[in-house]
């Protein structure tokens, strides 16, 4: 089986600082991978490298065997590489429905239409309506995003990612800032993703990591220092050292 996404010896320096140092990994269909590491380890930078927001100093990215290192951001999205943002980036002045509808319409290539009504496309309507209902956002469909609580915005961030029907979905701390009682909704939504796509999630909450991941990558100072099952990660000596050495909140690793 070809890898959906492969990173081959990705490196990136800012000045003299290695924010990514010879990082290699692969995501296969069905993978549920957690990317963890102390603050400043370069997790978000790695996601930015994968999506094309930052170009690597050396190394290559491949999707389905094809080199996408030189591909533009929208080009990668069209290939099925989709991310969510750690701090929400939504269309703040549009309604919740329009935010999700735009993603759907972009996927279906409807955004090139100049004279059909954006709100009356029946397939698009049915799809966002179903998606919002599943995330418990149906009530808010016609509200402006800027009027919503941050936790609700996190869910919309996820909804947009799901609406793009990705092959590889990169989730940058999807539960950060979500009130505790709404966090299960996020996990529910992630569990309902199609089984054959690959999901890479950055997450600090180890509870969530254990519920979600079949594989864990640990990043420290731009280097991948561990790859293995969630069970083994807690026992690994180097992982413990990375967290204890530079990360005060080491108790999060049980």
């Amino acid at each position: 089986m070809t890898d959906l996404l492969e990173a081959r010896s990705i490196s990136r320096t800012f000045g003299g600082l290695h924010v990514a140092n010879n990082v290699s990994f692969a995501l296969k269909p069905g993978d549920r991978v957690a990317l963890i590491g102390p603050n400043g380890a370069g997790k978000t930078t790695l996601v930015n490298l994968i999506t094309g927001d930052i170009t690597p100093s050396s190394g290559r990215f491949l999707m389905g065997g094809e080199d996408i290192t030189g591909e533009s951001i929208p080009g990668r999205v069209r290939r099925g590489l989709v991310r969510t943002f750690q701090t929400t980036r939504l269309f703040q002045n549009l309604t919740v429905a329009d935010n999700v509808a735009l993603a759907i319409m972009q996927r279906l290539r409807i955004t090139r239409r100049f004279f059909s009504s954006a709100t009356e496309h029946p397939d698009v309507r049915a799809e966002w309506s179903r998606l919002l209902a599943r995330l418990g956002l149906a009530r808010l469909a016609y509200r402006k995003v800027s009027e919503l609580a941050y936790g609700q915005q996190r869910l919309i961030e996820l909804a947009i990612g799901v609406a793009l029907k990705p092959k590889v979905l990169l989730l940058d701390e999807p539960a950060a800032g979500v009130p505790h009682d709404e966090a299960p909704r996020i996990l529910d939504a992630i569990n309902q993703l199609p089984a054959d796509i690959a999901v890479l999630m950055i997450e600090h909450d180890m509870d969530l990591v254990f519920k979600f991941a079949t594989r864990v990558l640990v990043l420290a100072a731009g280097r991948l220092i561990f790859e293995g099952s969630p069970k083994d990660v807690t026992a690994d000596h180097e992982v413990r050292r990375a967290y204890l050495g530079s990360y005060a909140d080491a108790r999060r690793i049980p």
Binding site: R78, L94, T111, G136
Partner: protein
């Protein structure tokens, strides 16, 4: 029981083409008021409509896409010159001249857009001024073509549809312009609520987010600039046809700045805002400059300060809020 999950989203009630129809009716009504109550001011009102196209055009790029520009008169002026030159050289059919203006405006829009949409923020603004100045300088230098600082005169268009002559009272010019405005406004109201229009509003909000849903932002902005150029082109051609002259002021910096002021005054991001701004600013200017030829600019400045202080998002915003609130009351929650 507030957290009961609803598993379908109620459809927003809307009558198809209601907005477009209402828009057309409102413009026709306003036009009728102008035509019957102010028969001596039709030349002024025709000029007003010409500028209104430019404000609408600016709204498309600034209000809907968030592009800052102080060189938007370039599209208007190039179209005015194109239509004027075509007319002087023998193309006298008004519809054909309009088409010439639209083509010239679209091309100028695409060129400006290709340059300006590459950048964001202050560099973008400066570049837009540079494009505007370049076009103005060209209009001045190419004297054999444009008439230079004397302006291009002798534009004598033929009859509309071969029937209606352009008369000295500007009746034909006014009605012709009004009819075109209705058509353009209806098309634009449809256009801004299309998937493409919605996407442009998204790009205005956050262009990185737009790229991350797979949108190639730059070409979309250039296309929007082309559409805006076409709309400005209509205004430019109509102004050339109805006034019979094209001067350097039609491409000048002052024109660009003035229409930006009109847009902000009326409310950027709404077609109605653009129209309201064009209407109110120009009527105010017209009346005040006639009443007090020496201090009218001061009064215009004062009006602007008052509006920016009390309605920072434009005059149309409070009106729309009122409409939304009354519409919201009628809907079962």
């Amino acid at each position: 029981m507030t957290d009961v999950a609803i598993n379908h989203v109620p459809r927003k009630r809307s009558i198809p083409f209601a907005q477009e129809g209402l828009g057309a009716l409102a413009i026709i009504a306003l036009g009728a008021v102008g035509y019957f109550l102010f028969p001596d001011d039709l030349a002024f009102l025709t000029r007003l409509i010409g500028i209104a196209f430019l404000v609408l055009s600016l709204d498309l790029v600034t209000g809907y896409c968030g592009i800052a520009t102080l060189g938007h008169a370039a599209q208007f002026g190039v179209a005015a010159y194109a239509a004027g030159i075509a007319c002087v050289r023998g193309v006298t059919d008004p519809i054909a001249l309009l088409a010439v203006g639209v083509v010239a405006g679209t091309l100028m829009g695409l060129i400006s857009g290709a340059l300006i949409a590459r950048f964001r923020g202050l560099p973008q603004l400066v570049l837009s001024i540079a494009v505007g100045q370049l076009v103005a300088a060209l209009a001045n230098k190419l004297q054999w073509l444009t008439g230079g600082s004397d302006g291009l005169s002798g534009i004598a268009p033929g009859k509309v549809f071969g029937i209606f002559n352009f008369d000295i009272y500007s009746r034909t010019a006014f009605l012709f312009s009004l009819a075109i405005l209705v058509v353009v406004f209806v098309v634009l109201s449809r256009f801004v609520r299309s998937p493409f229009g919605l996407l442009c509003r998204g790009i205005k909000d956050d262009d990185l987010r737009a790229r991350m849903i797979g949108v190639a932002v730059y070409p979309r902005l250039v296309i929007m600039y082309g559409v805006a150029g076409a709309v400005a082109g209509v205004g430019g051609a109509l102004t050339a046809i109805s006034t019979g002259v094209v001067g350097l002021d039609s491409v000048g910096f002052e024109r660009s700045a003035e229409v930006l002021v009109m847009l902000v005054l009326g409310g950027a991001g709404h077609l109605w805002g653009a129209l309201a701004g064009a209407l109110i600013f120009q009527i105010f200017e017209h009346i005040v400059s006639a009443a007090n030829p020496f201090h009218w600019m001061m009064l215009v400045g004062l009006l602007l300060i008052l509006i920016v202080v009390f309605a920072p998002r434009g005059l149309i915003e409070p009106v729309l809020m009122l409409v939304r609130r009354t519409a919201g009351k009628g809907r079962p929650s």
